[in-house]
Amino acid sequence: MSLTPPFYSRNAARFRTLLSASAAALLALSGAGIGTATVQASEEHEVEISIKNHMFEPEALKLPVGKPIKITVKNLDPTPEEFESDDLGFEKIIPGNTTAIVRLKPLKPGTYMFFGEFNMDTALGHIVAE
């Protein structure tokens, strides 16, 4: 019955090894002089958004174009939410009282809608990339 989940996690573990191996290789390549933190900070634009009472705070995100984006989503409600965007093509389940990370490819200028699929009446927001 429960034979399958360990299989997945084993796969995930292999993947993790692969990932950390390639990450290590990348780090080595980036040279001793440059710290990891500065590399990441200069490349990834980080932004935070929270969900409370099935609403996004803030509802509008201003993001730079041409940079990878890392959105940290804090779900402050006890209920789960699915953070989703058709325009940007992502969907992510965020259980109650937890935080999740959504990564975006570098954006082109424009406005992109996002929503919470479990509470479509109230959980609406958008990203303005400029």
Partner: protein, 275 residues
């Protein structure tokens, strides 16, 4: 209530249609009901486990855990479905013959049952964990509307099951020989679609960084959110904004399964010609 119905219906439909096709494709294999039921049960158990550890999974690998997990489940299902199609190609002839004689079951057929059950379990885990999370959210939320939300979810579950059954009986009513070729093609495309979805997940996690921008947007023609778009998304892997990597994954998967089953089928048909 309607929102709950639609959310649960969508998730159940996705797993249900896969189960319907798989069931039709395995008509006449003895023990397939057991294998599929075991797959569904494993899937539901797995869903509960996954839902329970959702936050942990999500936050693994610097917030990429959910995508990696879903991609792994999808690719696992792809391999299992491929195995099943290739096996069916090998045995289609004898199965067609034996199915024509009413009441006889195919004697050889147990090998693909594991693949069948495992593919079903994977499909159920993928969609089921979302349903479980959504439902526990309703219960935990303790809203006054919880009763009607649960009612809506139950209706969505029932409706999803009914549509899947309709698909199954539709496929099952086809003449036996056509049915096997149609379900074979359907499962091949379904598996290719799942492989493309897996690429989408890995791309979302930032693990694929080449050929990862949409090549076109056909949502004006057929939106993935429309009912037809959604059903085609599940059955043949329709994607309104496919990336290059997704097209490649789709092509490679469909091509590999096709070539493997062709290679399996060829000797049998040559033998048939000789006979």
């Amino acid at each position: 209530m309607l929102a709950a119905l639609i959310i649960v219906f969508r998730e159940v439909l996705e797993a249900g249609l896969i189960i319907g096709v798989v069931l039709a494709a395995s008509r006449g294999v003895p023990g397939r009901t057991g294998a599929v039921s075991l797959g569904v049960l494993t899937g539901i158990t797995g869903s509960a486990i996954v839902a329970f550890f959702a936050a942990g999974i999500s936050n693994a690998f610097d917030g990429r855990g959910q995508e990696i997990f879903v991609a792994a489940v999808l690719l696992f299902a792809v391999v299992m479905l491929a195995w099943h199609v290739v096996w069916m190609a090998q045995h289609a002839r004898e199965m067609t013959q034996q199915l024509r004689q009413l009441g006889t079951d195919v004697s050889a057929g147990r090998q693909s049952l594991f693949a069948l059950g495992a593919a079903v379990a994977a499909a159920v885990v993928r969609e089921g964990s979302e349903v479980v999370l959504f439902m526990t959210g309703i219960v935990m939320g303790g809203q006054e509307t919880a009763g009607s939300l649960i009612l809506g979810s139950a209706a969505g579950l029932a409706l999803g099951a009914v549509v899947s059954l309709v698909l199954y009986f539709g496929l099952a009513s086809l003449p036996v020989k056509q049915m096997f070729s149609i379900t074979g093609v359907l499962i091949t495309l379904l598996a290719a679609g799942l492989a493309a979805q897996a690429m989408g997940q890995l791309s979302q996690a930032g693990l694929i960084n080449v050929l990862d921008t949409p090549l076109w947007n056909s949502s004006w023609l057929l939106s993935e959110k429309s009912w037809i778009g959604q059903v085609l998304h599940i059955l043949i892997g329709y994607i309104e904004k496919p990336t290059g990597m997704q097209l490649i994954a789709y092509g490679i998967t469909a091509g590999t399964i096709f070539l493997l089953s062709y290679a399996q089928r060829a000797p049998a048909s040559r033998a048939a010609v000789r006979a």
